[in-house]
Amino acid sequence: MSSEQSHSELPVDPENISGKSTNLASEDLAGSSNDVSSDAGVQGGTQRQAASRWLEEHGDILWRFVLSRTRSREAAEDVVQSTILAALQSYDKFDRASSERTWLLAIATHKIADHFRAVRRARGEVEHVSDHIAEQTTADNKAQSKDQPSESPNADGPYAHRPNVHGTHAADGSWLKPPLKWGLDPSNASEKAEMLSALRACIDELTPALAQTVLMRDVLDVPSDVVCKELGLTPTNLWSRMHRARVALRQCVEASMGIATKGIAMKGLTKKGSETNRKPTP
């Protein structure tokens, strides 16, 4: 729809960034369903056969995916192992709405989220404040989604009534801290690599529920309806989670790349900086 709009503000073209490889990824995920022989698996044979086949057909993909998130071989091994064990236990619930590979990767996203939760606990960090907000919002959305048909876009926003979690908007919903210009160049390999590394770190900082949803939807490019089914979410829950995750990631990447710091330094000191905060008048 509006994807043809100018991208002049940030010369990062998402189309170019993802490029062919994205399509390859999604085709790979989608195509893998054809590889699955229907009589294989826990029901048709022993658990050993199922696990062996999964490792044979999807093991390397699973390994790379998990390793790219945990960045430690030991942790990746734990996650892969618990993924396979969980898959063996829940295979009878696998309804083939997605390919077997997507299903395994979805379980892995659960286990990755568990891993980071355990790491945070081990570091003695308290639960994220946003965890509570997330739960509250999910409850809100559940209540709300009963009243609304999920397929009609709720144009007023699913949580317009919510307090301003990220501090970017004023009480009336106008911009308090509008996004700053990033001015990054995607063709510059080092800038792209820096952004990717910042983004990876930021995904790890998300709450497990948000990280899991983002990994499935945006990283693995799993269709929305499949994500909803795998995670047991209503479409409204999914949009709400994805929006919160994207807002958090955008701010986190901006801060990691030093963009926010520059902006704060500018604010109030230069004319341009003070103009940034002016509410746009329709």
């Binding site: 503000e9 994205t22 390859l24 990824a25 790379r64 919903g173 807002v247 901006e254």
Partner: protein, 101 residues
């Protein structure tokens, strides 16, 4: 047609926070034509929303890159395949699990 125009004005009357929600939702599903048109008009004069939209799309693109790297094994070449010892230990765990169940 009336619905289309009404949607445009509805979007234009919303606060920017709602616009950001819609931009995000647009990455997950197509919006009603009037709502999408309203957003297109809004970004003509709202720099904050325009940047937000461009930036979350850029992040989506970068996340796709992370996903395709994981899929294609474009990271460190030694990490492309699950090591045999890991594979063996995972298999052993699955067999132990089977024996216990």
């Amino acid at each position: 047609m009336i619905g289309y125009v009404r949607d445009i004005f509805r979007v234009l009357g919303m606060p920017c926070r709602s616009h950001t929600e819609l931009f995000s939702r647009q990455l997950d599903e197509p919006l009603a034509p009037g709502i999408a048109a309203g957003l297109r008009v809004h970004v003509l004069y709202c720099m904050g929303c325009k940047r937000f939209r461009v930036q979350i799309r850029a992040l989506r693109g970068l996340m796709n890159v992370i996903g395709s790297e994981a899929n294609a094994g474009m990271g460190s070449s030694s990490d492309q395949k699950m090591p045999l010892d890991v594979r063996a230990r995972v298999m052993r765990a699955a067999m132990t699990n089977e024996a216990n169940s």
